[in-house]
Symmetry: C2
Subunit: 618 residues, 2 copies
Amino acid sequence: MAISLRNFIVGSPLRTAEQVHQRLTKMKALAIFSSDALSSVAYATEEILLVLVIAGTAALNLSMPIALIITGLLVIVAASYYQTVHGYPSGGGSYIVARENLGVWPGLIAAAALLIDYVLTVAVSITAGVVAVTSAVPELLPWRVHLCLLAIALIAWGNLRGIRESGTIFAMPTYVFIVLLMLLILVGLWRWLTGTLRPDTGLAEATLGAQALTTLLILRAFASGCTAMTGVEAISDGVQAFQKPEADNAGKTLTVMAALLAIMFLGITFLAHVMGVVPVEHESVVSQIGRQVFGAGLLYLALQAATALILILAANTAFADFPRLSSILARDGYAPRQLANLGDRLVFSNGIAALACLAAVLVIVFNGRTHGLIPLYAVGVFLSFTLSQMGMVRRWYKLRAGHWRLKAAINGLGAVATGVVLCVVVESKFTHGAWIIVLLVPALVWMFRSVHSHYLDMRQQVSLQDEEVGPWLQFGVAKSHKIVVPLSGLNRGALTALQFARSLSDDVTAVVVDVDTAATERLRETWKVWDFDIPLVVLESPYRSVVRPLFAYLEETDRREPERGLAVVILPEIVPARWWQNLLHNQTTLQLKAVLLFRQERHGAPRVVINVPYHLRS
Amino acid sequence: MAISLRNFIVGSPLRTAEQVHQRLTKMKALAIFSSDALSSVAYATEEILLVLVIAGTAALNLSMPIALIITGLLVIVAASYYQTVHGYPSGGGSYIVARENLGVWPGLIAAAALLIDYVLTVAVSITAGVVAVTSAVPELLPWRVHLCLLAIALIAWGNLRGIRESGTIFAMPTYVFIVLLMLLILVGLWRWLTGTLRPDTGLAEATLGAQALTTLLILRAFASGCTAMTGVEAISDGVQAFQKPEADNAGKTLTVMAALLAIMFLGITFLAHVMGVVPVEHESVVSQIGRQVFGAGLLYLALQAATALILILAANTAFADFPRLSSILARDGYAPRQLANLGDRLVFSNGIAALACLAAVLVIVFNGRTHGLIPLYAVGVFLSFTLSQMGMVRRWYKLRAGHWRLKAAINGLGAVATGVVLCVVVESKFTHGAWIIVLLVPALVWMFRSVHSHYLDMRQQVSLQDEEVGPWLQFGVAKSHKIVVPLSGLNRGALTALQFARSLSDDVTAVVVDVDTAATERLRETWKVWDFDIPLVVLESPYRSVVRPLFAYLEETDRREPERGLAVVILPEIVPARWWQNLLHNQTTLQLKAVLLFRQERHGAPRVVINVPYHLRS
């Protein structure tokens, strides 16, 4: 029943042998890998304006220069990643590049930055996508957080069903978004040139600040705008997915993507500038531009829908990246092994679930506001950019193949540029939330190391050397165990357990913890009447705890005859016919099992726990 | 470590013997039992106005007549409960009264209505309390839901620490609220009489509707206003807590409470009427009145703070009532037994946690809006009112003691009046949310019955009769068990388990499920090299599942020698030194244990599972 419900939701299990690699055409690859990067034009311009407006409308004139600097940076970073694509045709994520060329520590730092980055990609994209919806339909505004959580749940569900089924729905929205945004820019420019586009003076009153235009403010606006570059690295991670020749095709696709991103980002920023758009609380900048350029008709609604969709797709890419990276980390022993488990549908189900939960928590904590998340976003992105470029420089230097100096110079320029941006972002956004990431990255790296050392330590402690197998092989030494059977009452379940106990040993003791004096007295009476030849021990419990008195008793028993080892505990367990009926029984047995198994005994030796179930008929 | 953290949060355990009953003076009892009833004046008037305003400002004139009718109803209900207090000096909650006098089914219906009512008391009071805060501090508006959840968490935490520590903080806010509200009404009336209070025309434009004033609309306004009466029954539940003579003291307190409630409700509604207050989105009606009467100064802020505090205390009363009722239901076998467990601090911890979770879900689903919850609220309240009064009528008829006709008539009037209101509420609010409760009550009753029949059925299945103990007493029949040990690799943990297996039986088989072909091959090699005299069986697994192939193997094993019973499974288990390290290990063992224990075997016989842990050093 439970299993079939699960199959209905997630789909039936797939054989391991069904795992194949699908190769993508450039056309489809552009759609799949660029949604993250291109979708950022939906919020990047707005984030620049939101900072500048603090210093009044005049400061908004700085938006174009800032956008031009970011575009220049984009060209450098794209050129840098163009080389990564050729250097790592098997896929060069920042973790792999940094780890291979710079060592374990930089690799782990990059991994931490990337994992944080993926969670934020989901949170930022989803909240921005919901803003695109509520800008067009303000009635949905009070349900913003609910819509975000619904979107995250839907994406997670799609990914749990497996990537191939979601692959085909990728291409459409990206191209619709590109076409509509290009159309918006062209029509907007045409109307501006012909003078039919008047500045929107009505809105300009809305949210003006009067703070001085400091350098810090300009840097902060620049840092916010740098979110336009998030997702540029996506193609370098997935070179393997391209048709042959992989590196060439991936490089061309990267170039096209960067060009599209530059045009769209500059176009939107320019239109916002000439139209005098000011960011307002409940409508996005792109929505304001769209409504004025297209008029509040079908074309405007299509633009908003396409914006929302591409942002959801951007979130979706993180649902492929996060589980993959965490499975690689798990395989390398730096993350819990469950993250490397292929689920029934050949996807890393645990990673998908973890990402969905983390993103949902972020959305709830930040109340669905994109603007609050932005200062956290850029840090991780530029940290991984910088480490990846540094790794490439080191690589060219080590290989010293043809044109290695030029290649190293290009990547070096990328590393310096993104490194400077990283410093600017941390410095200017520190008090706005960047500090969280500055603390989180080392915390994550420390976790990776702890996990790793635990796995190493465990392997050492449990592994066997040939020479020490000898003593272990003394099987079959028949041994009479001390057996303790805790009872809560005298019923068929208890008797089944006592029977099993006696089938193993002659040294059986029944124990009852006195939490209900009347019931205990009745049990003692029955015990006498039925004349069992098993001793019954009653334990006091002033605090109503079953676990503590039992524990004390077991330790005392062990102390009396240390040479016979620890007593074996046999737990009678009533098992109902239906799963929900388990909720109706006191969880004492479960609690006992957990404590008995997980508590380290004073002697360091393991205590064996035997569960004897008694099944109820339905 | 885990236990001491828990002690730090919840407080150290209390002995069962420390459970004493604290008797309350009338002064303190009024504060404790009336916060629920009195706090409803914070929203009842507003809910009437919110419905009437749909038909335009003229319709608002109906608020006073409606409030007067509700006050009349309040007098009837209070008189009715005055009799309950005398009839049930040991505490006469609706469940007890309905069950004793009307039978099990009406009792369960009343219990279902009450449990729903308590959850809604928390949700409505907390959301209204947060509105009191955001009315004064609009900057907190976007964090409304977060504030609600924080308040619920704090109240739940206080209750988990135990009632006595929270008891002393009850009295103050209730009296401060009563004093400030009375002052508000007096000053308001004075300023109205002296003509210094002008109608607020500025707000009147805000949210006017133009719908026709239909009878349905008037009934709906009445139904919304009836939420003023929620909590009137509280004293009748807690007669036992009063000083002697309990019934007399409780009756007097009930009278004072009803009088206070009537004055405050009528006063607020009258002021809202003469001031022309119209409900607006982000400020409560009481806040509007307070700001105009007191001016936006300290007195106004104190009023808002007291309103928020008494609403939080109202939520707190539900945290005493819900766990108590569910523990009574659990004791009677209608609810899961865990709900009857006294926690370390002598409170019903599970009931407290359940209430907090349910209320939090409601707050999230309804986005923290009181108005959305109101249609759900009144149904449960009036259903339990009606059943309780009907029960009292029946009781007087059965007892036929002095003046029984008069007493029956008073309760009869109460039953008819609340029954009519119940019908009005369900009818007029059905599509607005009352339908949820109309479905939920029978669903809960059905659950109570299912739980009950499961417990009865189980008791029958496990209980032993003296005459059948004979065959069970054949202990000590030494039996050689078939033992299967599933392995994931050859390490010290596996060898410890194999050793224990051989100490029990000569018939031991090691089994490995082939999910990783290379690892399986290595294991097979080592097995040969080390020359174990235990057979090793390798199972195929095309879908990477460990559980299914193992299951099939066990069933086949059992089928081969049915006369020897089911095979015993011994699970090796690596137990790390620190709890968090458990998260780092594949949960296969846990999953196996769950499936082996809970899956009903084809034969209906129990399969014994033995856990042999291998503890790692830290």
